[in-house]
């Protein structure tokens, strides 16, 4: 491929790029070519989807949903961009597809790469679609100037400390805070700044102590009076207090602290881990994705929903997904209509989940591999046991056996009924289901 100029990008099963920790999507443009005239070996990247993030320019092949092309998603790290050329307005450009040119240079990477290729090349982004080129350029500038990748590199110690290993706890310069993880990150930043100022403070105190001692030694010629010692010890106390506070702060943010005997801290960590596990770092927003909003939201939702789906046994209520998804998105809430639209777009993409509407109107998300047959077999086993033959089963009986929510169990029962497996009995005792015996009854009937 483009040698060291391009790095490959992993994609999720629904065709979304896998982002780096803290990487946030800024803008999307469709039908984009990425060209580089300086490099003869540069691959042909035609009419793909270009995603600008805080860290990279990611180019996805046009039909990124098909698995055969997943390998050709590539990225240019923003850190290698050395110059972005401003858009020249010329007569010629009016007839051309709008294009953005930028210079990428290779920083010295000693030992790893003795390639004698050019040190810097000019790449061109050709926007063939209707995307707003100027807005994209603006965001490109912003992201590049924001240097989000640098702030990450400057705080590697934090990343090591962070017990979850997720690397969320890094300072983000110009990066917009979004999602639950965004809030957590903000919190973290606050902690860090407090930590830093405390550190500075006691460094100052140390310095003060040293200067004090020097001062006493030099000026008074070791004739230090007891009162002065009191001042000194007070300073030391303050230092110790500050140190203690700092430790506490660290342990509060750090899940690897030895002081796990503190229950409150433990539960707090748990809570944090849990929140992080559902947190979406870079939610697709209308602002970043523009016209591609629903399409990208659809893909992100497909990725997101897999874990809750597994936990719920392969089928989950759309309302539950709405709550979970919005909780994960934190502040960037979506409307129910957006969710529904994103779900209905799944039909067009090769994603492992699907939207299903029951006859009752209840909508759920289920794995494509989810089979009703399997559920029916279990329901059948349930209704044919001697007790159930006599008294039938209720939705809550089925819910207990199937390990799912009663509302969902009822949907399954109703589906089984519509397939002719069950029949219903509505009485003062409630709404119960029986195995459908009617076809068998009729066979030995005299009068039809």
């Amino acid at each position: 491929m483009g040698g060291q100029w391009l790095s490959t990008v992993e994609q999720t099963s629904s065709g979304r790029p896998v982002f780096l920790p803290n990487e946030i999507e800024r803008s999307l443009v469709s039908a984009v070519d990425l060209e580089c005239e300086d490099l003869p070996s540069f691959p042909s990247l035609k009419s793909g989807l270009l995603i600008l993030t805080t860290h990279r320019l990611i180019w996805l092949p046009p039909d990124s949903s098909s698995t055969s092309t997943t390998s050709s998603a590539v990225a240019v790290p923003l850190s290698s961009v050395s110059h972005i050329f401003s858009n020249k307005k010329s007569l010629k450009s009016m007839f051309h597809s709008p294009r953005i040119r930028f210079q990428a240079s290779l920083f010295h990477d000693p030992g790893s790469n003795p390639d004698p290729g050019p040190r810097s090349v000019v790449m061109t982004i050709v926007v063939r679609g209707k995307g707003d080129c100027d807005a994209f350029l603006g965001k490109f500038w912003e992201s590049w100037r924001g240097r989000a990748w640098e702030s990450e590199a400057s705080g590697p110690a934090r990343g090591e400390d962070s017990g979850s290993g997720s690397g969320f706890y890094t300072r983000e310069g110009a990066v917009r805070m979004v999602g639950v993880s965004g809030i957590l990150r903000k919190e973290q930043e606050m902690w860090e700044s407090t930590d830093k100022s405390l550190q500075e403070a006691f460094q100052d105190l140390n310095a003060l102590m040293v200067t004090c001692v020097f001062f006493f030694v030099n000026v008074y010629g070791l004739c230090v009076c007891p009162d002065d010692f009191v001042v000194l010890s007070k300073a030391k106390e303050m230092v110790m207090l500050a140190e203690k506070m700092r430790q506490k702060l660290l342990s509060g943010s750090n899940s690897q602290t030895g002081s796990t005997n503190d229950d409150e801290l433990g539960s707090k960590e748990e809570m944090q881990d849990w929140l992080l596990s559902v947190g979406i770092i870079s939610p697709v927003t209308k602002e970043s994705a523009g016209a591609l909003y629903h399409q990208q939201l659809c893909r992100q939702l497909a990725d997101f929903v897999r874990i809750p789906l597994d936990r719920a046994g392969g089928m989950i209520n759309l309302i539950d997904v709405y709550c979970l998804f919005n909780r994960a998105r934190g502040t960037e809430l979506i409307s129910p209509e957006d969710l529904l639209q994103a779900c209905s777009l799944w039909e067009k993409f090769d994603v492992p989940v699907m939207l299903r509407k029951f006859d009752s109107g209840v909508m759920v998300i289920q794995n494509k591999s989810h089979s009703d047959e399997e559920v029916f077999v279990r329901i059948k086993a349930l209704v044919t046991n001697p007790d159930a033959l006599r008294t039938g089963i209720s939705a809550s009986d089925a819910a207990i056996t199937l390990g799912i929510a009663p509302a969902m169990a009822k949907e399954h029962l109703l589906t089984a009924e519509s397939k002719g497996l069950l029949c219903r009995d509505i009485s003062p005792d409630g709404f119960r289901f029986y195995i459908n015996l009617f076809p068998e009854i009729n066979q030995d009937d005299v009068y039809l």
Partner: protein
């Protein structure tokens, strides 16, 4: 005799499955079919395939019951006690019972006692409490009755004789026949079958209707 083509497979109803119960009616209690004690039997099933089976089951139960009852049951309303199972504490709602009756009418196992009212009620919607809910039960279809009448006339040598309907249905001569006690309305539809086949002729009007068999 003179009508070999019209002679049925049997002159006596001895081969019929229900004959044994009919010749010695009601000495033993009616054995309800299994569906009678199946709770979902009393809830109208939304699944159309299942519902069709359910309605047929009802039809079977009603006809078996009607043929077995003492006195035999010839007409039925949606509010009849057959639709209630006190042991199970279940009742088929009258609106649903009316669907059962409509199903039976559709399959030639019943006829509305007042067809115009039935049509009106169907057009009006679910309201079944009004007229039109009552049916004649055909636990023997008019064709079967017609055959029995024909066979009896043949066996007793009364062809080409004019018999009044009252004679046929209430007379001492027919007291051992299954059609004894048949309502006039049902008997008329049976005779109508014979008339269509050219084996009988209706004479007169009103109560004194006479029938001449050929």
């Amino acid at each position: 005799m003179a009508s070999p083509a019209a002679a049925g497979p049997s002159l006596l109803p001895t081969t019929d499955i229900l004959t044994t119960t009919n010749t010695s009616p009601n000495t033993d209690a009616f054995v309800y079919p299994p569906q009678y004690s199946f709770p979902p039997f009393y809830t109208l099933q939304p699944n159309l395939t299942t519902r069709a089976s359910q309605l047929s089951s009802w039809s079977g139960l009603i006809l078996a019951y009607a043929a077995h009852a003492n006195p035999r049951l010839y007409r039925l309303t949606p509010a009849h006690s057959i639709f209630t199972n006190t042991a199970l504490r279940r009742t088929l709602a009258p609106t649903d019972a009316r669907l059962v009756l409509a199903h039976m009418v559709e399959h030639g196992r019943a006829a509305w006692t007042d067809p115009t009212a039935a049509t009106k009620a169907r057009k009006a919607g679910a309201g079944s409490d009004g007229g039109g809910g009552e049916v004649w039960l055909y636990w023997r279809t008019p064709e079967e009755w017609a055959q029995q009448l024909g066979s009896w006339v043949e066996a007793t040598g009364q062809r080409n004789t004019v018999l009044t309907l009252y004679e046929l249905l209430e007379g001492d001569a027919t007291s051992r026949e299954e059609f004894h006690g048949l309502p006039v309305e049902v008997a008329k539809s049976a005779v109508a079958v014979l008339v269509r086949r050219g084996r009988a002729q209706m004479l007169g009007e009103g109560d004194g209707v006479g029938v001449k068999f050929f």
